[in-house]
Assembly symmetry: C2
Homo-oligomer: 276 residues x 2
Amino acid sequence: MIESAAIIGLGLIGGSVARDLAARGVRVFAWDRDLASVRAAVDEGLAHPLAAGLDGLPEVDAIVIAVPVLAAGDVLRAIAHGRRDVRLITDVGSTKRSIVHLAESLGLGARFVGSHPLAGDHRSGWTASRQGLFEDARIFLTPTAATEPDAMHLACEMWMGLGGRPEVTDPDLHDVQLAWTSHLPQVVSTALALAIQQTGTPRSTLGAGGRDVTRLAGSSPEMWADILVDNADEVGSALAAMSSYLSAIGDAVASGDRDGLRELWAAANQWHAEHP
Amino acid sequence: MIESAAIIGLGLIGGSVARDLAARGVRVFAWDRDLASVRAAVDEGLAHPLAAGLDGLPEVDAIVIAVPVLAAGDVLRAIAHGRRDVRLITDVGSTKRSIVHLAESLGLGARFVGSHPLAGDHRSGWTASRQGLFEDARIFLTPTAATEPDAMHLACEMWMGLGGRPEVTDPDLHDVQLAWTSHLPQVVSTALALAIQQTGTPRSTLGAGGRDVTRLAGSSPEMWADILVDNADEVGSALAAMSSYLSAIGDAVASGDRDGLRELWAAANQWHAEHP
């Protein structure tokens, strides 16, 4: 049972974790590079400020790193030199391979479990955070090679307490899968927005379908630059496949190949129908 | 005021037009290559069957062609040789240039107005049709060079009676704009679905964002093969722009250019924020 936690980063995910833990009676300490977010959390009675920053972490059961993926590595390095009595160190990043391997190489493997809550949307920041964000959300948990049962147990318990559904998976496999199910859709939605934007066409002229496809174009630049660079190889493979399907469709359109187009659409229909 | 209408094609759009017109007391005649749809419409008391097909069209105020875009040309040719006492001939296709020019060349320009209701979603067919589909929907109306005021008036009156908001526009301009706001999103969503599908990843493993971006992959193969081929040049230009943004993002990812990625995402954010 977690009785105290330090939340590093009060964005959509970190802020929502802070709100949920505080609501369950956990003593929450919070830090963010944006002092206004910390002040807001303190003013709402949700958290105590970490006045001395990462160097002055109090004794807590768990540390939750909720900053963009590449910055999470810096936080992990900073706390590796500090308190070692913490029972659980976790993060909430959308990539898991590099942070898990870093935790291992820093000697934090026993108490580290990577977390990736499949929650949130294109909104970001403290003002988007809310209680109940993880209700019924899938939470990928990626242990290190050395994670101890106590840390794993605490991670499961924490996320289940927040309403999430933990699924333990391998960090490398996680990053391969997410390249297709999350990172590629994000890139595609953003590239589409940019292509439409350069014609001077406002988003308000799109129909409901076009708005759906471009919805992720509202996502955080900081967060996504980090995720994509951290998962560059897998994202590159996914992008190559996407480009090749776009080319195939473009060729069929240019040559008036209606049969070919119908076959491609029928295949996409079949995939869509499995979970409409 | 339209008192009678023939609806050719009882899919999502044609079926919904038939339902709405019948509900307003208009005498509706219906035809579809799928006799089961006609029978369903007749059984529901919404329409009378066109027993003799297009050759035996009764005297009606308006003919609404609601079949896929390229088939609409065949229907227009068939009725050009038949009754010429109809006051309004319109279609509901997603491309307008070719059908408007065909109407002109068939000598039907005076009574033809192209229509494109921006309604419906990825579902299709009579079973998806419903009353009220056009409530508050934008309806693009594209006259020919020779459309007479009576035909234009009837078209506006008909769509407004169905709850739509008519906007008169040029058919060529319409097809250029829709290539970006509708046809490109459709192609992108389908290509993304195909790219994910070939990895064996089911749609159920996607988060809410990925499901949004792939939603249009459930759209009708027949309808979209026709639309894309009919608007091939404009769709080709849009696809080229899309591919070039995907390449730019791919290059930035491969070289670890986080600043470049943040700039691209920030630009997409700005466009998205105009109509979030």
